[in-house]
């Protein structure tokens, strides 16, 4: 009985300060450990986002240090009724992301399947496949700009060996976005392949063997066994790469410059918002476009998550 009484905690007020602090820290350790990260997130994410939201409701222009008025949703109305720059930018953003993602998934899956089973020289092949991934996007943009140069670029020179006439590539507004989608595919397919390969490596052999026993051919095994089992990994790859592709800026700006080229032919939402902010100094409108872009990304993530829940 006495021993039990000794183990009963004393009221905090009776404890020495150090022990009191220790007890408090122990009780609140989840906040203490998470505190620094939460402060980091608040400082670097929430505050800028909140400030962008505030600016989007103002007529701030020329300098953010100048006086500005709150104008409600005027900037949002202006952006959403702008059929010259905003909506075409939305279209290009979706076309670029959709196109890139589609081919990256197919090619990434092919590469992952090829690298799945061990073979001689696999390490070397994996290293070569991953090389585009480690290059800086701006450097990649500059390199492809030179390769696609219509008059002296290697790509047209290469085509001429087979009698194919020179193509304008980045110089033509009709082909520039497709050309840059190709560059994105070239650079980021390895990442998708890497994610899918990780998923494939974790798959159990048993369902494959069972299907084989049932007489399923390679395609049937892939389509009816591998793909359904890989669905969570595929969705993770779509989510990661999709969000990244939506936000692409570097290769577009490095190859076509301000405004997404002379005809705004590769102007995505990101490039458009950058131009509004850095070229036109229209901080209110630029912030509204960025908030709309943010909402668009959230909506896409939501749709993908719903899809995942529905299929699981």
């Amino acid at each position: 009985m006495t021993a039990v009484q000794n183990r009963t905690p004393r009221p905090a007020a009776q404890l020495p300060p150090r022990e009191r602090l220790s007890r408090w820290a122990n009780k609140n350790r989840k906040w203490l450990f998470a505190g620094p990260s939460m402060a980091f997130v608040a400082l670097l994410l929430v505050i800028p986002l909140a400030w962008t939201l505030v600016l989007s409701l103002t007529d701030s222009k020329r300098s953010v240090r100048r006086p500005f008025d709150f104008i409600g949703l005027e900037n949002y109305v202006e952006a959403l009724t702008d059929t010259e720059r905003f909506w075409p930018s939305v279209g290009r953003t979706l076309a670029f992301t959709g196109g890139a993602l589609f081919f990256e998934l197919i090619l990434g899956m092919i590469i992952a399947l090829l690298l799945w089973k061990p073979f001689r020289g696999q390490g070397l092949v994996r290293t070569i496949v991953l090389l585009p991934l480690v290059a800086t996007p701006v450097a990649v943009g500059m390199m492809w700009r030179l390769l696609f140069e219509p008059n002296i670029g290697f790509v047209n020179e290469f085509l001429s060996w087979f009698g194919i006439p020179a193509q304008p590539w980045l110089a033509d507004p009709n082909t520039s976005l497709a050309t840059l989608t190709f560059v994105d595919i070239w650079q980021w397919t390895p990442m998708v392949a890497l994610i899918l390969l990780a998923g494939l490596t974790g798959l159990s052999e048993e369902p494959q063997e069972a299907a084989r026993m049932d007489g399923a051919n390679a395609w049937q095994r892939f389509w009816y066994v591998t793909v359904p089992l890989m669905r969570p990994v595929i969705i993770a790859a779509v989510l990661l790469r999709g969000i990244d592709a939506l936000k692409t800026f570097d290769i577009l700006y490095a190859t076509k410059g301000k405004g997404g080229g002379a005809f705004h032919d590769v102007e995505t939402l990101n490039v458009y918002a950058y131009g509004l902010s850095f070229d036109y100094n229209e901080y209110g409108l630029a912030s509204a476009v960025l908030i709309l872009f943010f909402l668009m990304i959230l909506a896409i993530i939501w749709v993908i998550q719903m899809q995942r829940k529905a299929t699981s």
Binding site: T58, S60, R62, S63, V64, R65, R66, P67, F68, D69, F70, E149, P150, N151, A166, P168, A171, P173, K256, G257, K258, G259, G261, A262, F263, S277, F278, D279, Y280, N281
Partner: protein, 435 residues
């Protein structure tokens, strides 16, 4: 309700109190005290990639030795420089003491935003340094609301670069009119299908400054007050002429995003017969390490159009002091040295054309310039117009609007429709810009 202004007032009062308490010894309103020793201080200078920068960098050790101050240089390409200013000056940084900027592009905007320190007392107070020696046109471009906010360092005019060998082979004289220029471009391209008759800037924004010489020479202009003039018959002629000159006499696919480095590269590689661009960049053409046609480059005054020869003659770059700089005295000492008669003369001898009248008059200053170029500079200087883009606050936006028909003209589209649309948009922009 002006939320920003009340916040700014509170901030200004607080800042003023702190600054007033800590700078009691400072006697000048602008924060520049010429009596202060700058020995041991660091002057942070942000400069553009330019011939001026490369040349002054070799002379800076002299300044450091004389003053005892250390100069830290940040050097950036034009676009990155603009972005850097947009971010840093907008945030009220004190990390920049001296900034190199484009008066025609940024003077109004920066001064209106309060980014630039008022240098009026300094430039007018030093008789030996002599502000009155600066050419009137360039000096007026670095003045805002009666206050001097910058000191011009580079002046430039449109000069016609041409290939001597190609002209000689075709038996042609150097063109003196725009009609002759087009005829020569056509004749040379027909005789040399791999060579473009003319190359020039094609980028929507970049081409505006080079179109200006054609626009003025056809009798056109950008604006009159808040009225757009780009829909005039003269302007339409100029747009069509420029577009056809670039795309009409070449077999190559025209890159629609060329600024001067890309356009110069075509000429330097021997793939074009003519280019009209800034004379301050001439060393890019005559330096054999950059140009394969260095020995065959000729220079001529801008050809005459229906309204005469009207190239631009402008201050392309200037130096200013960041209003938030903590070392304004050091910054001013640097500017004073970099733009002094002695340094300007030395720079001119190294091929950099400044804005001091006395240097242009000094026969030793330009001894190394090609004689033909000097003659072209003289003629262009007499005929020159003091601006090469619309003089508004939001220049970048204005350039995109008036540049749109250039791109369409080069691509062979419906130029009149593009001009109509741009004229309307520019008119609306001018009203907004003037608010």
């Amino acid at each position: 309700m002006k939320y920003g202004s009340s916040a700014a007032r509170v901030f200004a009062v607080a800042t003023t109190a702190v600054v007033a308490a800590s700078l009691v010894a400072c006697s000048s309103d602008s924060g520049i005290d010429e009596g202060d020793s700058i020995e041991g201080t660091t002057i942070r200078v942000t400069l553009a990639n330019h011939v001026w920068t490369e040349t002054i960098k070799d002379l800076i050790p002299e300044f450091e030795k004389e003053s005892g101050a250390k100069v830290e240089i940040t050097q950036l390409a034009e676009d990155q420089l603009s972005d850097q200013y947009n971010v840093k000056l907008n945030a009220g940084t004190d990390e920049i003491d001296v900034l190199m900027y484009r008066p025609l592009q940024e003077n109004k905007l920066f001064a209106d935003n309060g980014y630039l320190a008022n240098l009026t007392d300094q430039v007018e107070g030093d008789k030996e340094w002599d502000w009155s020696d600066f050419q009137e046109g360039p000096a007026s471009l670095t003045t805002y609301d009666g206050e001097v906010v910058g000191v011009p360092i580079i002046t430039e005019r449109t000069v016609l670069y041409y290939r001597k060998d190609l002209l000689q082979a075709a038996g042609l004289e150097v063109p003196t009119t725009l009609e002759e220029l087009e005829a020569a471009a056509k004749a040379i391209h027909e005789a040399n299908p791999d060579v473009a008759g003319y190359v020039g800037r094609t980028g929507k924004s970049a081409a505006v400054t080079q179109l200006s010489a054609f626009l003025y020479s056809f009798g056109g202009d950008w604006l009159d007050g808040t009225d757009s003039l780009i829909g005039s018959d003269e302007a339409r002629e100029a747009y069509k002429y420029y577009g056809n000159l670039i795309s009409g006499y070449t077999n190559a696919t025209v890159n629609p995003e060329m600024s001067w480095p890309e356009a110069f590269a075509v000429f330097q590689q021997g793939q074009a017969a003519f280019i009209a661009d800034a004379d301050s960049l001439y060393k890019n053409m005559t330096d054999p390490s950059q140009s394969t046609v260095a020995d065959n480059v000729g220079f001529a005054a801008f050809p005459e159009g229906p309204a005469g020869s009207k190239p631009y003659n402008v201050a392309a770059w200037a130096l200013a002091i960041n209003e938030q700089s903590a070392n304004k005295s050091g910054a001013w000492e640097f500017i004073k040295w970099a733009t002094s008669k002695a340094t300007s003369l030395e720079m001119a001898k190294l091929g950099v054309s400044g804005a001091r009248a006395s240097v242009w008059e000094d026969p030793t200053a330009n001894a190394d310039y090609p004689a033909e170029l000097l003659e072209a500079i003289k003629v262009n200087g007499q005929n020159g117009v003091g601006y090469d883009r619309p003089l508004v606050i939001e220049v970048a936006k204005a350039r995109e609007i008036v540049g749109e028909p250039i791109v369409v003209a080069i691509a062979g589209g419906d130029v009149d429709a593009a001009i109509d649309a741009a004229d309307k948009a520019f008119g609306e922009f001018l009203l907004e810009d003037a608010e």
